[in-house]
Symmetry: C3
Subunit: 147 residues, 3 copies
């Protein structure tokens, strides 16, 4: 086999590897932290596996539901920006809230974070309480990352 023939073979290999490089299963999982408290509690803000980013539930210390909705989705947007992703890349979210009727009053506030009606699959659940006693909403998400 001569060298001219080996070029397309090498290219083929590179393409195959590139196309699949989103699942580097033998490397440690990539972890992203927002602060030191995560290690004290025992969680990681975001863990990347292949082309998926899994976000821990995001909360806020703000006073009202509407402020918490704004703060939570702003934090999510900031984390995504670090990975070159946008809100339209959120595949699914679970919204845990202590007051689903109050959350419904903030639907427009939440929707303003998403453009072109590109909303994620979602479950909205009213639960007893969250880790932070004052938190009214916690949002976890699975996000698609681009190569």
């Amino acid at each position: 086999m001569n060298h001219l023939q080996s070029i397309p073979l090498a290219l083929t290999l590179m393409l195959a590897v590139t196309a699949c490089s989103t699942s580097p299963s033998t490397e440690p999982l990539h972890r992203y932290h927002l602060g030191d408290w995560e290690t004290e509690i025992g969680y990681t803000q975001a863990v990347r596996h292949g082309d998926l980013l899994y976000l821990s539930g995001v909360v806020s210390g703000e006073a009202t539901m509407d402020q918490q909705v704004t703060a939570v989705y702003s934090t999510i947007r900031t984390v995504l920006e670090r990975y070159g992703a946008g809100m339209e890349d959120i595949i699914r979210e679970v919204v845990y809230t202590t007051d689903i009727e109050a959350l419904k009053q903030s639907i427009e506030t939440r929707k303003a974070f998403f453009a072109d009606d590109a909303y994620p699959a979602a479950s909205w659940i009213q639960i007893d309480r969250l880790f932070m006693p004052t938190a009214m909403i916690e949002v976890e998400a699975v996000v698609r990352l681009r190569p």
Copy 2:
């Protein structure tokens, strides 16, 4: 390189791309809608990423738990059929319910939707309430799609 030799190379490329085509990470996420209300609330019934389909929590307006179980899993089955998938392709589900004892009374109703004991990984959780005040059960799922 002559044309005869380039055929297997092209085939190799095609095979590599096909084998990996379940992660088309540069395209917009594929979104599936059941109705206009999704855009008003701000969610998408099902979002596809690669060979995975993420379903929003499915609910029903029926009157009894048993009827809601039947309606919810019928809806899920209908969505899956649109993607050529079956109930045996559900990888995991979370069942949120306002009354887990009532849900236990409907176990046989739910099990009838699954053949050959091919059940998903599952968490069943009793929570305060769901988005729809009359909903007693909401089921979200992650589903494997076939190429």
Copy 3:
């Protein structure tokens, strides 16, 4: 084309398939059971898809929160060992608990299961009750498997 040239082509194909073998989308999902009760209730303890393992919520019949935390994470570790995975391979978890303040008292007990601060993305949620009336904690997880 002679045989010498066909070898690298075959190798390329094998490499491409190997690199993508984590998504064998046409095979039945791999299911792992801990006991017969799963089939009676209608769930599977762990379902594998590609290089991801989805665990059903794990509970324990122990008497105290601290004992339940130990039992639940021990069970998870045992399941992971069957797949050659460790606690550092848990990508995300959801911890459902009936008493989040009691769970906070067991943070060190839980953290002892994780080495090198390699914690998963996590949501901790206080809910009404779990499937087993005496369960105080239920942990579901998505885990990365190595080839």
